[in-house]
């Protein structure tokens, strides 16, 4: 089994009193398409900054291609997107691509990059004059200029219309099919559901959930049971929202919960069971973590599992979900 392209072991990063990343252990093997989810301020950006060498961990280990990421040579196989607001406004599109290409031994020719991302006609435009969507496409294109083995995409489709988003997804899938490794953060859970094989949810600097898309779906309270009742006994729901006689119960096993409800003998009406989207499930996980254990709430260690490239199967079967 080849070494992981990215490895974090107990990586912690503090800014003064604030702990942005708290003992994160995570390994990304070659060829994986990993989706990184978490609310704003969860530590996603800090994690990417550690991996791309922008910041060093306060403690713990961070490695990129087996080296410390702050060594320039470690980043030779890395492709990243700048934030689209960060393009130098006075430089022309072609010049921006040329500057990035100049750092790699075997870059994709600039004309080819521009063509591939639909920017061919804009080569001579200053980036300050591009639309938001065009800037975003240029920003994403820059990640692929150096023929990277690993691409970090931070919110790649924010601000893109539906067509442009799907074009970009195709580009990411094509890169991944060719053997490329991708770590993707997104506000659009739909995007992670559409692309990622593995999902890591971070919140408050910790890994909350780490598993395949299916595992995460089944492990988080992904079933929503709605029912009207005057009063209900404790049915073992992960999370219960009560509004008058309306009860909304979140659980990973709706069958068991409904069985308990019936056996309890409590009168109820309008029973409704629905499968939650990843987005809803994810919100439930982070909200539950907030409510139950304000401090030191996660007891499970966030040991990540690596996936063997041969089988694509995780080495352990249950994702760790801290409750």
């Amino acid at each position: 089994m080849s070494a992981p392209l990215v490895r974090l072991a107990g990586a912690t990063r503090r800014y003064g009193d604030v702990t942005a990343l708290d003992g994160v252990t995570l390994a990304v093997p070659a060829g994986q398409l990993l989706g990184l989810l978490g609310p704003n301020g969860a530590g996603k950006s800090t994690l990417l900054q550690l991996v791309s060498g922008l910041r060093r961990p306060t403690s713990g280990v961070v490695e990129l291609f087996g080296r410390p990421p702050w060594e320039p040579a470690a980043r030779a196989g890395l492709g990243m997107t700048p934030q689209e607001t960060g393009l130098p406004p006075t430089l022309r599109v072609r010049e921006v691509v040329d500057v990035v290409a100049g750092h790699f031994p075997d870059p994709v020719p600039t004309a080819e990059v521009l063509e591939r991302f639909g920017l061919g006609d804009l080569a001579r435009r200053q980036t300050g004059g591009l639309s938001g969507g065009q800037k975003r496409r240029l920003a994403v294109a820059l990640a692929f200029v150096g023929r990277p083995r690993l691409v970090l995409l931070d919110e790649p489709t924010t601000g893109l219309d539906v067509d442009a988003r799907h074009d970009l997804w195709d580009a990411v899938r094509a890169y991944h099919r060719g053997g490329g490794t991708v770590v993707l953060t997104s506000h659009y859970l739909e995007e992670v559901e559409a692309l990622a094989e593995r999902v890591v949810v971070v919140d408050r600097g910790r890994v909350l959930v780490d598993g395949s898309l299916e595992e995460v779906r089944s492990a988080v309270p992904a079933r929503r049971v709605r029912v009207r009742a005057a009063a209900l006994p404790d049915l073992g729901a992960d999370r219960a929202l009560i509004d008058g006689d309306r009860h909304e119960l979140w659980t990973s096993d709706a069958d068991a919960l409904v069985r308990r409800l019936v056996r309890s003998g409590a009168p109820f009406a309008d029973l409704e069971v629905a499968s939650a989207s990843l987005e809803e499930a994810f919100l439930a996980v982070t909200a539950a973590a907030d409510a139950e254990h304000p401090a030191g709430r996660r007891t499970s260690t966030s040991t990540s599992r690596t996936r063997t490239p041969e089988t694509g199967a995780p080495e352990t079967s249950t994702p760790e979900v801290a409750r």
Binding site: A3, R55, A73, P82, P88, L142, G146, A171, G178
Partner: protein, 269 residues
Amino acid sequence: MISTPTTATASEVTPARGGRTGGLRLTALHTRAQLLETVRVPIAVIGTVVFPTLTMLFFVVPQPFADDPAQATAATAQISLFAVMSVCLFTYGVGVAEDRALPWDSYLRTLPVGAGPRLAGRLLNGLAFALVSLVPLVVVAWLLTAAALPADRLVLTAGALAVAALPMLGLGLWIGYGMSTKAALAVAQVLLLPLAFGGGLFLPPEMFPGWLDAVSTWLPTRAGRDLVVSATTGADLPGTTWPVLAVWTLLTAVLAVRAYRRDEGRRFR
């Protein structure tokens, strides 16, 4: 094809150095990009170029000593140092602080390039600016005053300006790498005029009262000024000049290197 990732293992990753991505090539790449960025905002160029020339027009040209070759030459040398100094404090100080706050600078730091080429690009960029800002100054001195620089003193003067600029360079880089944009702008502005005036860059120190002259002796600008004036006119160099310059250069270099090492771009996000 957007890319063709190889299936190499991590141990096969080769560092991007030598050949097409050598240090010199990267330096040229960054210098060119930075110059393009700056030159395409003409007002920034004009500001740097015009201010020292205006100072020359107001502080030197109308004065009686503008007709005296030695004094006019010394005055031109002083203002030249002022021009170089403002480039150091603003291009390096404020400019670097502004760059650090931009996401593009963070992005460049994720590319396989070390600090060297980016810093070298910045230094060359500042050098180009300093030279450009000296051109109108010299033209004004030549046309409107009696200043004259013998050809054999040209190289010596350029060298003196470069040496006198060293503590200013350290100061600028310390401000740029150590401070936020707002703080950098304020500190650069607060330092520029007292240092320039106190160092005798506007009015010659001969016109200073005794106490100011005493304080002035220990300023890096005064030592730099004396060095440049001596290079242009052959005037005697005070014994304090070299030690004062050396101490300030060392001190500001240490501050700049420390700020640079601690820099991680923007602090939060």
